[in-house]
């Protein structure tokens, strides 16, 4: 209680002192500084109070240094100095701030503290920084006060608010003040107003404070706190929802990448390619190889390895795709069930081949610097990697649309999709179109693998974990229409992530699968179904 009262008195003095004498002269500082490095602990306490009373940047600096063990007496000339670390270094004169050479800790004698002094210092420094620090420091001090809610800091805070110029910092200070008032036993009206102020800060910290106040305050205050808390909860729920939406969007983008190649092969050729997931996996491993090559031979390129990996992955997987089409799938046209089995077999072979070459464990693919980290967007945390993948998925989608709609190859592909015998009789080499289509679909899968290597483990099983989801997307969206794939991927991605917090990850997935199975009953050919005679074989 005594220390509490003294704290208030001190803070009051401090506040008054700040108003009267903004900065103390070097002479004024000399005596208390000397006391700080002395041996008498009660003299130290008085010196600390004196310094705090004087205020000003030098006093604040000295007190801070004292708290951090960086305040020394130089043995050679008894000068009180501040060092950058507790073991010496380049010194500055504590009283004037002038440079004072450098020294190691042997030539210096540290100012010792006991626990009582440490406590005293901690409170005072917070208050001092409120007025003397840089804006960022002042804001941090206000934040610290908001968290501590130490009533002793209130007068200093009030004084600091009065002279604060920076609007943002003042808002932070007022928030801290409201928090202190709210949790103190100030008059009800003030506390109610404080509750409203705290309510404007819509994060978990404020929510916790309001809820704790709502528990044990007079009814009117508790009511106000509850109202504010409810508003914060609503805001947080909205934020959660938006965050899930973002996760859903990014999952949708991933699904779109994985499924869009499948949509091409399935839609155009009616071929169920169960080895599609393995193409994705090969793309991811290509990224790994490219990155390793960059690491060993051209470290400067490491940050841009992905741009090399993109065409490389496309070429590798497209070549593998063309090879599979020529060697196996070509012989199975018109027998979709057998194609399914054969491609499943191929997927096993590819998986095992990768396992024997690269080993069964996960391979490390690092994120380039421009893809790591996150950006804060009105309280939403958007990770760069996911943001880029969304952008990338949209790019790939648009590119594919352009290829299908605006190129000669795309025209031939669509002709073959719609009426194969007619296209053939018009001189389109359907076999070649088939091969190129399969290569294109596989190549897009490879590109998807590059993207997935950034957010998922690169292991031989990478493809398997996406194949069922990809098929669900294609089946849900309907074949032969890229827009259907887009709609399917986004719907499934967002529905998955929105269900996850409600039902849990696994149950959410099961619900989605069951819903798709039910949906297929209603619309057996998907959302965007092809219509016309070609549908019924």
């Amino acid at each position: 209680m005594l220390s509490f009262l003294r704290g208030i008195a001190l803070a009051l003095m401090l506040a008054l002192g700040l108003g009267a004498a903004p900065a103390a002269s070097a002479q004024d500082l000399a005596a208390p500084l000397a006391a700080l490095v002395g041996d008498d602990y009660s003299a130290k306490g008085e010196a600390i109070e004196a310094l705090a009373r004087m205020g000003g940047p030098r006093a604040a600096e000295a007190l801070k240094a004292l708290a951090e063990g960086r305040l020394f007496r130089r043995r050679s000339d008894q000068l009180v100095v501040i060092a950058p670390t507790s073991s010496g270094g380049t010194l500055t004169d504590a009283a004037t701030g002038a440079a004072a050479g450098s020294a190691g800790d042997r030539e210096l004698e540290a100012a010792n503290l006991n626990n009582r002094l440490r406590r005293q210092l901690a409170g005072l420094i917070g208050s001092l920084t409120l007025t003397t620090g840089t804006p960022a420091e002042r804001r941090a001090a206000a934040e610290a006060l908001f968290k501590q809610r130490d009533p002793a800091g209130l007068p200093a805070l009030t004084a600091a608010i009065a002279q604060e110029k920076d609007a943002g910092v003042r808002a932070a200070m007022e928030m801290a003040r409201a928090a202190i008032v709210l949790s103190s036993d100030a008059p009800e009206a003030e506390r109610i107003a404080a509750a409203a102020t705290v309510g404007a800060r819509s994060d978990r910290e404020a929510l916790g404070l309001l809820l704790s106040v709502a528990g044990g305050a007079p009814p009117a205050v508790a009511e106000a706190a509850r109202t504010s808390a409810a508003a914060i909860e609503r805001h947080l729920a909205m934020l959660d929802y938006a965050q899930n939406l973002y996760y859903g969007l990014s999952l949708g983008a991933v699904l779109l990448l994985a499924a869009v190649g499948l949509a091409v092969t399935f839609g155009v050729m009616g071929v169920i390619n169960m080895a599609h997931g393995e193409m994705v996996m090969l793309g991811a491993y290509t990224t790994f190889v490219v990155q390793e090559l960059c690491r060993t031979s051209a470290p400067a390129l490491l940050d841009y390895a992905l741009f090399i990996a993109l065409p490389a992955a496309f070429l590798v997987t497209a070549a593998v795709g063309a090879l599979l089409e020529r060697s196996v799938i070509r012989w199975l046209y018109g027998r979709p069930l057998e194609t399914l089995l054969a491609t499943w077999g191929l997927s096993l072979v590819i998986q095992q081949a990768v396992r024997s070459v690269f080993g069964p464990t996960n391979r490390e693919v690092s994120n380039p610097s421009w893809m790591s980290g996150a950006v804060d967007f009105y309280g939403l945390t958007l990770t760069w990697s996911r943001l880029w993948i969304i952008v990338f998925a949209v790019l790939v989608f648009v590119l594919l649309l352009v290829v299908l709609r605006r190129t000669a190859f795309g025209l031939q592909m669509r002709a073959v999709t719609q009426n194969r015998p007619m296209a053939s009789s018009m001189g389109i080499r359907t076999h070649r179109v088939d091969m190129l289509t399969f290569a294109l679909g596989s190549g897009v899968a490879g590109i998807a693998g590059v993207a997935l290597s950034q957010i998922d483990n690169v292991s031989p099983n990478l493809g398997q974990s996406y194949i069922i989801d990809s098929f669900m997307v294609v089946v849900f969206g309907g074949v032969g229409n890229l827009w259907g794939t887009l709609a399917g991927a986004m719907t499934l991605g967002i529905a998955n992530k929105l269900l996850e917090p409600v039902a849990g990850a696994v149950l959410g997935k099961i619900i989605i699968l069951v819903l798709i199975i039910l949906f297929i009953q209603r619309r057996p050919r998907g959302l965007f179904a092809l219509r016309g005679r070609a549908v019924e074989a």
Partner: protein, 387 residues
């Protein structure tokens, strides 16, 4: 009383069926006898681990026949038959769990160990009745049958066919796998059901029980084969084949295609359930891994290897592939997946009718029109393809 011709001409019909049934009968009698009566030193003694292994293959063979019934005769390629197999297995596993009684690690009289471990206070409602064998035996066929009925009713009525059906059956078994991996489903989660003690009062690990289970599995396989033969040789079976070969045309002829499909799908699922139920006491464990889509698709390759639409071939395929697998995973495990993958590719490319189908086609060739009549060449790529 059915006339003898019913058996000779319709059910057995030819040497493969006859040989198959004779081999099963011989195995059902000789293997348990040799295991139980002959001393281990005798060269004719069948060791217990081999009895269990072959018993497992017999269960797979029954699953293969069930799959052949829908795929080979009705053109429904189910990639989710492992789900029915596992459901039957879980029904049996639940009975076996309840039989453990107070002999479990925690010694709880009613709750299985994993429930005590998860701090459950009482038995979930769906575990009631499984302390009775007759109830479990009904559930072994009822649960897969009911799931197949509901699923098939939706799927066939809205004419989900071909690869679409394959994909959603795969999604079905995938969903079930995820569900059964969850601890709060009440089926033992990741670990599944295991540590069984008794079946009908006989210790599951005793030699005699294993031999008896072996003989029963032989009998079940024979019964499954005869039921399947009976279905496919009836008028009903002819409609099934018509649906396989030209579904729309059959529908236009006035047959309710969806009902035919639904019936045969449910029967097949029940058969798979029985196979699973016989599998569990022999193997001693059932866990959610049995629902993995890989298992179901492996069952498809057994049928493809043996020859679909032949029944005996399906059983033969299950035997051959699994014997191959057992040998290979022991001798050179890293090659097994290459071999399995190659098997998928080679069989579909070069042996589309499977072992038995190819032999059968060869034998018939001199009599009927060569090639074209018996083996329609793969449709050319220029043919119109349904997605």
């Amino acid at each position: 009383m059915l006339p003898p011709r019913f058996f000779t001409a319709r059910l057995i019909a030819g040497w493969p069926g006859l040989l198959f049934l004779l081999a099963l009968a011989a195995a059902a009698i000789l293997v348990p006898l040799s295991n139980l009566v002959l001393p281990p030193s005798s060269p004719w003694h069948v060791p217990t681990h081999l009895v269990v292994l072959i018993g497992k293959w017999l269960c797979y063979a029954l699953l293969a026949i069930a799959l052949d019934l829908v795929w080979g005769y009705c053109g429904i390629l189910s990639l989710g038959h492992g789900a029915f197999f596992a459901l039957g297995g879980y029904a049996m596993g639940m009975y076996l769990m309840r039989q453990i009684g107070t002999r479990g690690v925690y010694g709880h009289p009613v709750l299985p160990d994993f429930m005590v471990f998860l701090n459950w206070k009482e038995l979930p409602w769906y575990w009631y009745g499984f302390d009775q064998f007759w109830f479990a035996a009904i559930m072994v066929v009822a649960v897969p049958g009911a799931l197949a009925f509901v699923f098939g009713w939706f799927a066939f009525r809205s004419r989900v066919t071909g690869v679409y059906l394959s994909i959603i059956t795969q999604a079905l078994t995938f969903a079930l796998m995820l569900a059964f991996f969850r601890n709060d489903m009440g089926f033992g989660g990741n670990n599944g059901l295991t540590d069984f003690r008794e079946i009908l009062g006989f210790g599951v690990r005793e030699q005699g029980t294993r031999a008896a289970l072996f003989a029963i599995t032989c009998a079940a396989l024979a019964a499954g084969f005869l039921i399947a033969r009976w279905i496919v040789t009836s008028r009903f079976g002819l409609v099934l084949v018509a649906i396989r070969d030209a579904e729309s045309r059959t529908r236009f002829l006035g047959y309710r295609v969806d009902r035919y499909k639904l019936f045969v799908f449910v029967v097949s699922a029940m058969m798979a359930g029985v196979a699973g139920a016989l599998y569990v006491p022999q193997v001693g464990i059932i866990n959610p891994g049995e629902y993995a889509p890989t298992n179901s698709i492996e069952a498809v390759i057994w049928v493809a290897v043996g020859g679909r639409g032949t029944l005996v071939g399906a059983a033969l395929g299950a035997f051959v592939v699994n014997a191959f697998k057992t040998w290979m995973t022991g001798a050179m495990p890293e090659v097994w997946l290459f071999a399995l993958g190659a098997l998928f590719v080679l069989v579909t490319l070069f042996l589309p009718k499977g072992i038995l189908g190819t032999i059968r086609a060869r034998r018939r060739q001199p009599a009927a029109q060569p090639q074209a009549a018996t083996s329609p060449a793969p449709a050319p790529a220029t043919a119109e393809q349904g997605p």
